[in-house]
Amino acid sequence: MPIFVEKKPDKLISEDGTRIDGRKPDELRPIEIKVGVLERADGSAYVKWGGNRILVAVYGPRAAHPRHQAIPHEALVRCRYDMAPFSPSTDRKKPGPDRRSIELSTVIEEALKPVIFKEMFGGTAIDIFVEVLRSDAGTRVAGITGASVALADAGIPIRGLVTGCSVGKVGDFIVLDPGHEEDMWGDGDMPVAFFMETGEITLLQADGQYTYDEFQRALKLAYNGCKQVYELQKRAIIEKYEKLKLEGETDE
């Protein structure tokens, strides 16, 4: 039985475009990415994005299990997106996959596959685990963003990073990176991910209603957002390598 029912705010955005959390329409929430945070995983990342806290681990290439799932001429790329029971701001979520998390696992998988050199690792599996510890809107794009960094950390050959960011519709405004209230009571959410080096789209979903013009503007805004996130991804990877180098030098 839910103890609290969240209430819709009177206004999500003011006429001058100031959003409920004070941001401008084209402003991201604060984002922090740490690489290599887990011991056992082959690669890992921890993403703080607004109020989101997401842990990503990558295992592989490793023997595909169960065996009959293996594909002879390319790696089996599998993603498992999961929300911890204590991650929602409202009621406890029952552990285990539900229909939403099964769909999100699929779209995250498809968002990452285009950059992985799958054909180099026939018969093996590459497993990507996205664990949402705290959710606050935009977990799938934060997960994709962390996952491509974790793939790099695992040393898996990739064509480049995949970078995600949502855009949303709040009243007549197209806004970047919708927050919790905008996600719940706004007029549309459009998560997007780009393979930044070519500008190709690897994730695109939407609910809500959009004129063709709004759709075009939304795509452009998402791309601009992803450019900023991309810089943070690269910096996180460099930091890890700097640290490793430093540790290497200290060892000498």
């Binding site: 002879p72 229909r99 099964i102 500008g199 789209i201 695109l204 609910d207 209603q209 004129t211 063709y212």
Partner: protein, 264 residues
């Protein structure tokens, strides 16, 4: 391994044709296959629609039930979409609970209908916070020859547009009463459709059949509605450029009139 080679050769062949604007079944790149809405009464649903999209066949039955609303929407009816990929429909479908493929289709159809605000859920309340109508939309795939997204949406929206609901009264003691002859029509505020395209080589191809799906390099689905708006998007495998995605949106919007004719 030899299967793989045949696939690659077929892929090359289809790619070469599509490059020249030709499809193996003679259609233009933006053409749908023949669509047929079967007139047969084939279910015990409160609404139903059996669609043939080329050789793909999908049937939807709507069943109306009553029950308590969700705690956070006491003033709304409930609407549930379920897709079953029957093992009858393809050698690759296995019995068992819905897998990722059928869940994705169900969620995209659900999202399209919900985003289009097709159903006025507030009209499906019998007593606020206590009893509402529940619409179960069960989409059963009978024969799988490609493009389940569009066939499923056509079938689901088609079935909803023919649905009638028994008038249910709740008496003082909490018992429900209903007269089998007293029913009302479910009014739809919008009748959205989805348009699915695959990327073959550098071209977009509308309404892919099974072999086109198998050789495609990418897939994208748009939900579209009467007023020329997009009401849902779902990219599948592969990657597309911004330009391709925009082109896909324009094609999808241009197809609404053609598809919606089958809702009449």
């Amino acid at each position: 391994m030899s299967k793989k080679i045949v696939e690659l050769l077929l892929k090359d062949h289809i790619n070469a044709l599509v490059e020249r604007g030709i499809r193996r079944d003679g259609r233009g790149l933006n053409d749908y296959r023949d669509i047929e809405i079967m007139s047969e009464t084939a279910t015990h649903g409160d609404g139903e629609c059996w669609v043939k999209l080329g050789k793909t066949q999908v049937i939807t039955g709507v069943k109306v039930d009553v029950g308590p609303p969700y705690p956070d929407t006491p003033d709304k009816g409930v609407f549930v979409v379920n897709v079953e990929l029957l093992p009858l429909a393809s050698p690759t479908f296995e019995p068992g609970p819905p897998g990722p493929e059928s869940i994705e289709i169900a969620r995209v159809v659900d999202r399209t209908i919900r985003s289009a605000e097709a159903i006025d859920l507030e009209k499906l309340v019998i007593k606020r916070g206590e009893l509402v109508y529940i619409l179960f939309v069960d989409i059963y795939v009978l024969d799988y020859d490609g493009n389940l997204f569009d066939a499923a949406t056509l079938s689901a929206v088609g079935a909803l547009s023919k649905t009638t609901i028994p008038v249910v009264h709740l008496d003082e003691e909490g018992n429900i009463n209903a007269d089998p002859n007293e029913r009302f029509k479910l009014e739809l505020k919008s009748k959205p459709a989805t348009v699915t395209m695959v990327k073959i080589g550098k071209k977009l191809v509308v309404d892919p059949n099974l072999e086109e799906e198998q050789v495609a390099d990418g897939r994208i689905t748009f939900g579209v509605k009467e007023d020329g708006r997009i009401c849902a998007i779902q990219k599948g495998p592969g990657s597309l450029s911004i330009e391709q995605v925009e082109e896909a949106a324009r094609i999808a919007l241009s197809k609404y009139e053609f598809l919606s004719a089958y809702y009449r």
